[in-house]
């Protein structure tokens, strides 16, 4: 039996309600996020959705001060690669952490960022 693939649309729907969703390979156990068609480890297509707890630490970060047009009003803003407790990593905005307190290894917790048009993007706030 093949599980339905978690598409980006499904990921962001779940994200809007506060859930960070990864997928686990039924053949080899590899965890992946965001979704991929084939398991990068064994190339099987046997994914099961897994809800992550949302806790992680900053693996690397930057403060963007020259932004693309759509984000010009937000500067300066922090973007980080966050390594989740379960082992996968994802890029997100860091919010509610003073920019001078950002550090590699800082614990953060998943927090969906909801735009005016109700689309969600990946964010993290203080743990």
């Amino acid at each position: 039996m093949t599980e339905p693939t978690i598409t980006a649309r499904v990921f962001f729907e779940k994200a809007r309600s506060g859930q960070l969703t990864a997928i686990r390979c039924g053949a080899c156990g590899e965890l992946a996020m965001p979704p991929k068609e084939l398991c990068p480890s064994c190339h099987a297509h046997q994914w099961q959705p897994v809800t992550l707890v949302g806790d992680g630490t900053i693996a690397s970060f930057t403060v963007i001060r020259v932004a693309p047009r759509a984000h010009a009003a937000d500067v300066p803003y922090a973007v980080a690669v966050v390594r989740l407790k379960e082992g996968v990593s994802i890029l997100g905005r860091i919010v509610d952490v003073p920019l001078d307190k950002l550090a590699v290894g800082l614990p953060v917790r998943f927090r969906p960022l909801i735009a005016k048009d109700l689309t969600a993007s990946v964010g993290f706030g203080p743990a």
Binding site: A8, T62, V63, I64, H71, V82, V88
Partner: protein, 384 residues
Amino acid sequence: MRRVAVIGVGVTKFGLHDRTSAELFAEAAREALTDAGIRASAVQALYYGNVVGGETEHQLHTGPQAASVLGIPSVPTTRFETACASSHAAFRHAVMEIAAGVSDVILVGGAERVLNVSTAESTEYFAYASDAVWEQPLGLTFPGVFALIARAHMEKHGTTEAQMAAVAVKNHRHGALNPKAQFQKPITIEQVLKSAYVADPLKLFDCCPFSDGGAAVVLASEEVARKHRKPVWVLGSAAASDWMLLGDKRDLSRVPATERAAAAAYRQAGIGPSDVDVVELHDCFTIAEIVATEGLGLFEPGAGGRAAEKGLTGLGGEIPVNPSGGLKAKGHPIGATGAAQVAEIVTQLRGEAGPRQVEDARKGLTHTLGGNTATVLVSLFGRD
């Protein structure tokens, strides 16, 4: 497989131009054909790099467009787009076509025009080389990608902002010796360190500029190349890719695609890093040069920052890197960059680089990286 040589090179001045990218390419191509001493009618194909023509010039189909503006409308043309590595990808495919015996003479080049739009616009268009679903909506920029790499490298290896600044100072010193460079003025460590943050820890002077420009090289089979005064042989040319998403890259302090492409190119050429005399590599940001010198095997992982600070990569140093001034000072018209790097290495191996000549350069390397490090090409060159 047949041997392939570069027999002609041409590059426009990089910087602000009031001409289209196709016109800039055409100028470089005419120079390359003249340098090769062959007629345009000898060209059997055009492999072309252009990236944001659709955005900044409302121009797609840039391959035949460039061929038409040059005046060779009937040869087969293909546009390559691998972000900033586009014309190096074009180069590699032309090498394979000649090596396979399909063609004898191929024109390879690229061009870009971005200074006709605002910095905010070009910042947005360059960000299109990152993922549109998972990364662009977060406001990730191109400097932001390399800032994340820089932070990881600093954390893991103790690399400093002053070491990164040393790369900028060195490349500006080299650029001052290159009449085609966008910036021909030396800068100081203090100037770099005092420049404004663009994406911490990267400052304005850690970043290459936005540039307009074109570059072209003529590739030929051995039979054709033997009639040329100074053929420069392609010893190897390899490409590698990596995950698009930064979150999927396991160690941000490294660029695995550089390591894989370099290993393949060295294997093809039957040489190693210590055999290379001169390098043109992808210093879109100062940290990119440091990480590339490690990935290419010129220095141990983590030693690139200290090597830059000690001057090992300057002209007269242990292994001169970016004698042209690199992307940092020469400029970075993204579609042209790969071909322009080849042009510089060919000029060096011919011994025709004037004040920026690396003494007795026999073997050279070019390294071009696409956008978020998901594409890398490495090629190796040697003279007779």
